[in-house]
């Protein structure tokens, strides 16, 4: 079953084709990685899939909702975590959780129940009463991830979720990404770490708004003559 599906999705800004006729499909529980140079169109594509930016042409369905006509419904059924982690620094960890819980339309009881479910999985118990500003950057990113999955979204969008973390924290973040996917959430992520591209089920390489290569990491590696994803990247971003 495809949770994300687009047909010739395009976004033009004046004469610039930021996203140009992109057709993709992502199955339930799959982790899809978006690769491409800065300016290739990754963020524009993600914003359209999140219902945050209407496409110029083409169609798409995310979590069963049309990205043009039902953008508001999409926003209720997805989780989103971007690079500039938007935590409320003057609030405690649990207050941040309560705040976002309210935004997701959950009542106090639901928030408390979901927190109990997640607190041990994320080893967040010790940090509950800390101010968000007191957390190290690794824990901030982990808290942002907890918030992004707090309402149990069917689809999760992650923009460079591991950037700036040490290797162990990165592996712990991946443990959470895999756990979330294992329980059926579809994940779309962008990354500049080519080593992490290997961790995805499916990769899409973009250049100048178009998809230039697509498939499993193993398949893309074959396309590069087994010289690595980095080589493929160089071939495709001339």
């Amino acid at each position: 079953m495809n949770v994300i599906y687009t047909d010739r999705l395009s976004k033009h800004f004046g004469s610039l084709k930021a996203v140009d006729q992109v057709s993709i499909s992502v199955g339930q529980g799959e982790i899809m990685g978006l690769l491409g140079a800065n300016g290739a169109g990754k963020t524009t594509l993600i914003k359209m899939l999140c219902g945050m930016l209407p496409p110029t042409k083409g169609t798409g369905v995310v979590a069963g909702y049309d990205i043009v006509g039902q953008a508001t419904s999409i926003r209720h059924h997805i989780g989103y975590m971007n690079q500039s982690v938007s935590l409320l620094d003057n609030l405690r960890v649990f207050e941040n959780i309560e705040f976002y819980g309210k935004i997701y339309g959950m009542n106090k009881k639901e928030v408390a129940a979901r927190w109990e479910e997640l607190v041990d999985l994320f080893k967040m118990g010790d940090h509950r009463h800390k101010l968000a500003s007191e957390l190290s950057s690794g824990w901030r990113q982990m808290l942002a991830f907890v918030i992004a999955v707090f309402h149990n979204p069917k689809t999760l969008f992650l923009d460079e979720p591991t950037s700036g973390l040490d290797p162990l924290s990165r592996f712990e973040m991946w443990e959470q990404i895999y756990r979330t996917a294992y329980h059926g959430t579809t994940i779309v992520m962008s990354t500049h770490y080519l080593s992490e591209a290997w961790y995805c089920d499916h990769l899409i390489m973009m250049e100048n708004g178009r998809v230039t290569a697509e498939g499993s990491p193993e398949h893309l590696n074959e396309l590069s003559g087994n010289r690595g994803l980095g080589q493929l990247f160089l071939m495709h971003s001339e």
């Binding site: 491409g36 140079a37 800065n38 300016g39 290739a40 190290s136 950057s137 690794g138 824990w139 982990m142 950037s163 700036g164 973390l165 040490d166 290797p167 162990l168 924290s169 592996f171 712990e172 991946w174 443990e175 895999y178 756990r179 996917a181 294992y182 500049h192 770490y193 080519l194 080593s195 992490e196 290997w198 961790y199 980095g230 990247f233 160089l234 971003s237």
Partner: protein
């Protein structure tokens, strides 16, 4: 070329650098790695004389950094982590500005580093703000090189720029090394470690490990076993906390188990077999830099997610 010993730096009671020492041979690339908040930028600011209040000794080319600031300024170039050129000025104007500070001309750079200049030349009349991230970094490197420094400091030059631009920037740095320039560079891309002659990994202000990448791999003291063949999370959950195993972690789609050297990897096969994980593959693998770092991080009793 650079000798640092017992470097300490406190902000209030917060110790951000805790007894750091290292030596950087002339004409080599010295990499400083670590998570955000590990102390990398503070160390760069000390070495480039921007922070003067610190504990410990630091000499550059035999000169004490506290006594010879002016002399040191003449032989170092610095590319800070934040883009700090004049965005309104064109590429050429930025170069001229920095050249004049050092009493030289932008032609210097064009002559001394033709390959670096060649890729920037087509944009020479463009304001710096309209350059791509990768091009901005190249311009920053050019500006740091106008006075032909012997040592170049670069604080996370490849953060936020795409793999192609990173590849090109590294080509330039390797070319500079072959011209005899000593380079100190920080990054958190593990795949860049292979370009470095020596590596210092900082963790919460302390030196976690220091060696050449090759040495790090050679000195790995475990038998690394990789298990694959199931959903990564399922695999990880099955293997976590098993008695007889010294622990495990997810490395991409595989679970890595750093067995003790005297253990046999049959232990892992048996556990998988008993747990009914019929389709798993158990293989011995060579460690990568990440496996080495994880080994050192999990040694570290004070470790928390940084």
């Amino acid at each position: 070329m650079i000798t640092a010993s017992h470097i300490y730096k406190y902000y209030g009671n917060n110790c951000v650098l805790n007894d750091i020492g290292f030596r950087v041979p002339s004409g080599s690339i010295f990499g400083i790695m670590g998570a955000n908040g590990a102390g990398k930028s503070t160390l760069f600011e000390i070495m480039t004389t921007l922070i003067r209040n610190f504990g410990g000794d630091l000499t550059i080319k035999g000169m004490d950094i506290r006594k010879h600031r002016k002399d040191i300024h003449r032989i170092i170039g610095y590319v800070p982590g934040q883009f700090s050129l004049y965005e309104e000025l064109t590429v050429r104007e930025n170069l001229s500005f920095f050249a004049r500070i050092y009493g030289c001309t932008p032609e210097h750079i064009m002559k001394n580093h033709p390959a670096l200049w060649e890729s920037l030349a087509p944009f020479s009349d463009k304001p710096a703000r309209y350059l791509s991230g990768g091009m901005q970094q190249k311009l920053a490197v050019c500006c740091a090189l106008v006075h032909n420094p012997e040592i170049l400091f670069l604080d996370e030059p490849t953060t936020g720029i795409d793999p192609r631009a990173r590849h090109e920037l590294w080509r330039e740095l390797i070319a500079l090394r072959s011209q005899g320039v000593t380079i100190l560079v920080s990054t958190h891309y593990m795949e860049e470690a292979e370009n470095m002659d020596n590596l210092l990994f900082l963790h919460l202000g302390r030196s976690l490990i220091q060696a050449s990448p090759r040495q790090m791999l050679q000195e790995y003291d475990r038998l690394l076993v990789s298990v694959s063949g199931m959903h990564p999370y399922q695999l990880f959950r099955e293997l976590t906390g098993r008695s007889g195993l010294p622990g495990c972690y997810l490395s991409g789609k595989n679970v890595h188990i750093p067995l003790h050297k005297d253990q046999d990897m049959e232990v892992v096969r048996e556990i998988c077999h008993k747990a009914g994980m019929a389709n798993t593959r158990v293989t011995r693998v060579q460690p990568g830099i990440e496996d080495v770092l994880i080994r050192h991080l999990s040694h570290d009793t004070t470790r928390t997610i940084a």
